[in-house]
């Protein structure tokens, strides 16, 4: 009967109820988006870091991978040392640079990744095959489009370009053997991958036996922290970065978004709370007579409160469910804006949907709905019956 009365009361003021639900829906959408934003980046980045199973990165001491132009010398020596650590399953060396491809009067420049195709963790082949021979490379869709080439073509490429004298250095002819989706590059970035030794040779003496960083994969069952410690002791001239450390760095750099998410999420929750509490207060004030009569005919105070709280909670619940759908749409839109964030891999989702986020948002809204209704309903149900009846009769 209480549910029936709550429902009937809400249905009686249809437009008011619908507007309140709409208001809660927008608040709920915003809240869901902010909950997704607060954890999405981190989880998305974690997933990205571990997508190929490499849990550790080794970079020049005091730097992060590709943060600077610094390189690690004696790369082959490092690989030898790491090979002696039994808990390590694979070591992927990576050298970064640029490749300039002449296309008639123009030059197409791409970011170049030199690596070992057998253990690389930077890309996935979508057409063709890995570049295993010295004079082979694979490229991203954006590069292939910009250069106007196809898989199977041979390119004239150089590692160095002097813009002032318009001369190339470290030039070679390379065969495009595959198209690849690069995991860690930004949107519309032109990227190529070729064998490490080829890129080192093209870059000249300065890059002999040098890499930008290593990716390391621990054996299944091995403790990543233990491997980290062993590497730090064995190769003290590098910084060993675990997934957690990398995530902390990301957290720090993108802390603005987490804080914004917290603030906007709180504001959304507050707005929803205010809306429901205002609605319940007005509703109670409007039917004070009905409420005290319910008490007069013997309905317990707690049940009167419960009935009114149910009204507020129902608005919150229905609004929250509508808001979940709306939130997914707005999240996609907001994600598309942030996807063009410079320097971040395109694969990063700022708004990552996880069911626990939806439950968290729903839970917060329901609790807010309950709390929003408690004070006005308790106040209404506690009015002195006789005095209120008299005032209602006079009014």
């Amino acid at each position: 009967m209480l549910f029936r009365l709550a429902w009937a009361t809400l249905a009686r003021h249809r437009s008011r109820t619908l507007l309140a639900i709409l208001g809660v829906a927008v608040s709920a959408a915003m809240l869901l988006d902010m909950v997704m934003l607060s954890s999405g980046m981190r989880e998305s980045f974690r997933h990205l870091l571990l997508v190929r199973g490499f849990q550790l990165r080794l970079s020049p001491k005091g730097t992060l991978p590709f943060d600077t132009d610094a390189t690690i010398a004696d790369a082959s020596g490092v690989i030898r040392i790491l090979g002696g650590i039994p808990e390590i399953d694979a070591v992927s060396p990576v050298l970064g640079g640029q490749l300039h491809v002449a296309r008639g009067a123009t030059t197409v420049t791409a970011a170049a990744i030199g690596g070992d195709a057998a253990v690389q963790g930077d890309y996935e082949i979508t057409e063709g095959r890995e570049p295993v021979a010295p004079n082979e490379l694979v490229a991203s869709d954006d590069f292939i489009r910009a250069a106007g080439v196809r898989v199977g073509d041979t390119l004239s490429a150089a590692a160095g370009y002097d813009a002032q004298f318009r001369t190339f250095s470290g030039a070679r002819r390379l065969a495009l053997v595959g198209r690849a989706h690069f995991l860690y590059t930004a949107n519309e970035q032109r990227v190529v991958a070729l064998p490490l030794a080829t890129l080192q040779a093209m870059q000249g003496r300065a890059s002999h036996d040098r890499v930008s960083f290593f990716m390391v994969r621990a054996r299944e069952g091995a403790s990543v922290d233990s491997v980290l410690g062993r590497i730090e002791r064995a190769v003290p001239r590098v910084s060993v970065i675990s997934t957690e450390v990398a995530l902390r760095q990301v957290d720090e750099r993108l802390s603005y978004f987490r804080q914004l998410a917290f603030i906007l999420g709180s504001v959304s929750l507050g707005v929803g709370f205010l809306l429901v509490t205002t609605l319940v207060t007005v509703s109670v004030n409007e039917r004070l007579g009905e409420i005290v009569v319910m008490r007069a005919i013997g309905v317990a105070r707690g049940r009167v409160v419960l009935q009114i709280v149910l009204e507020g909670t129902a608005i919150m619940l229905v609004g929250a469910l509508a808001g979940l759908g709306l939130g997914m749409l707005t999240a996609r839109y907001l994600n598309s804006i942030l996807a063009s964030f410079p320097g971040l891999p395109a694969a990063i989702d700022f708004f990552l949907f996880q069911p626990r986020d939806a439950w968290a948002a729903l839970g917060m809204l329901v609790i807010a709905g309950i709390l929003a209704g408690i004070y006005p309903s308790w106040r209404g149900a506690s009015m002195p019956i006789a005095v209120t009846l008299r005032e209602e009769a006079v009014g």
């Binding site: 009365l5 007579g289 008490r295 005919i297 013997g298 009769a393």
Partner: protein, 232 residues
């Protein structure tokens, strides 16, 4: 009629603070109402008759004195106990009906039964029975806004009888009705009383007062006359 009073007030008083002034709404009223009786409490506006009714019904507490209803001291009950007491032992009818506008006539009648824990099926059956009793069997699905004043008051009476109370307290039940409808209401209340429910009515309506077996006159918070009517 049984000799044990169903309502007994002993020197009951009720004072209100209106700003700096104290209003003595009821100034020491001692009254006994026998089981099965019908009593009309009459008097000019502000004489304390509605206040006395509220004290008897437990929806107001006396400043002093005792109120005993059906053997229990209502004035000493905690709020939750008094509420439960009203639900099961007392029926209320108000001048302005106070039906739940969002519920149908049947649902309004079912409301006290639901609170008392009666099952859905039994509630529905009893609601049908009560609405038939008050002559509104065919209007059970109508909302209050779709009923006339007299019909609404009938629904209110059916609601008051939902849990088969010992006593029906009515505060100006014909106050918002025209003469013809008021007469129908008087007949219905008389029938309720004939069927065994003690009836206490506060009224300005002379016809309603004439229909009661006993009339209690109040003035300035005191009972000034109390007599049984001959031939009722």
């Amino acid at each position: 009629m049984s000799e044990t009073p169903v309502v007994e007030t002993r020197d009951v008083r009720r004072d209100y603070h209106m700003g700096e002034e104290i209003v003595h709404a009821v100034r020491g009223v001692s009254l006994e109402i026998a089981r099965g009786d019908s009593v009309a409490i009459v008097g000019p506006s502000g004489c304390g008759k509605s206040t006395l009714l509220n004290l008897v019904g437990g929806i107001d507490r006396p400043t002093a004195g005792m109120v005993i209803v059906d053997g229990d001291r209502v004035d000493a009950m905690r709020d939750a106990t008094a509420t439960r007491f009203r639900l099961l032992r007392i029926g209320f009818v108000f001048q302005r009906f106070y039906l739940m506008p969002a519920l149908s006539a049947a649902e309004n009648v079912e409301l006290p039964m639901a609170e008392a824990g009666m099952s859905g099926r039994k509630r529905a059956a009893r609601a049908r029975e009560l609405l038939a009793y008050v002559g509104l069997a065919e209007r059970r699905s109508h909302r209050p806004a779709q009923l006339s004043g007299g019909e609404q008051q009938r629904v209110a009476i059916a609601r008051a009888l939902a849990n088969a109370p010992r006593i029906l307290l009515a505060d100006e039940p014909t106050g918002e009705l025209d003469a013809k409808t008021g007469a129908e209401m008087i007949e219905l209340l008389a029938r309720v009383n004939r069927d065994g429910t003690t009836l206490v009515v506060v009224t300005h309506d002379e016809a309603l007062a004439r229909a009661a077996r006993r009339v209690v006159h109040m003035r300035d918070g005191l009972v000034v006359d109390d007599h049984r009517q001959v031939g009722v």
